[in-house]
Symmetry: C2
Subunit: 135 residues, 2 copies
DNA sequence: CTATTTACCTATCATTTCAATAGGTTTATA
DNA sequence: TATAAACCTATTGAAATGATAGGTAAATAG
């Protein structure tokens, strides 16, 4: 299941996309609009800034801003950044140590197919699409 | 992510489908073939029996057997039985209390679409398809 | 009848993950 | 210099996960 971290991250991104272009929005404003605790939101925004998906500026007049136009973000990258990976099973996680049963596993092809499906779905929807319900 | 419970359940089902028809297979045999601890496997098989997708018979000569031909099981029902649900997010879980932000949530339609995609994928693959890699 | 084989049942455990909170530090602006 | 803001590290409580332990009931074989 997709955790709240990724879900909140997506909501924040759509929120910021809806604000005035080229202005910094303080965390507090986002927290109020999205009804998410400031402290928890902070940890999520930290991840987004580290991943270069958002820019943060300190001090008075500071806040957060998108680094690209909404059409240049995919939903997939936002989820993957916050969630770590969108692999459907542990054995397909990046860096998972190769399973000894890999060759004879009857279910591995299923998980691979589903993983590909999931990847395609989320990486073919942009933030703009998400806002416009265009998917 | 799909937990080991559902993953093991699927492996057990494919394993049983590959055994002699109309014979009861002891848990111990399955555990050895699938390299799963007997005790843990027990708890999974209990779920499958309760869900009527396996039949269990006690005593000497007993064991487990499929209740239907492999083509009459969907992968979806097996996952859902063991996993509880295949909802992608908490707010779409069966019996989740209605979210107050439901109307204005920018991401809910996305999760619904993804949930439908997931459901369709898994419910359109039978156990037979899984065995034959036919999906 | 008795020993054996098997499923079934209840409880417990250790570890990890998840969601959230707390309190402080740095940076920029007015 | 006061204030507003992001940034940083650590901690917490609760739940889920994966697994183990020990016993009970039923069926069969000898």
């Amino acid at each position: 299941m997709i955790s709240t971290k990724a879900r909140y991250a997506l909501r924040v991104m759509t929120d910021l996309a809806g604000q005035e272009k080229n202005s910094y929005i303080p965390l507090k404003d986002i927290a109020i609009r999205q009804e998410i605790s400031e402290k928890y939101l902070e940890s999520i925004l930290k991840t987004l800034v580290k991943g270069n998906i958002l820019k943060g500026v300190r001090g008075k007049g500071g806040g957060y801003m998108l680094t690209r136009p909404p059409k240049d973000y995919t939903v997939g990258e936002i989820i993957e950044l916050t969630e770590g990976s969108l692999a459907p099973v542990a054995c397909l996680m990046p860096g998972a140590r190769s399973c000894p049963r890999r060759e004879k596993c009857a279910t591995l092809p299923l998980w691979k197919k589903y993983g590909a499906l999931t990847h395609d779905f989320f990486y073919n929807i942009t933030l703009e699409d998400l806002i416009n319900n265009n998917f």
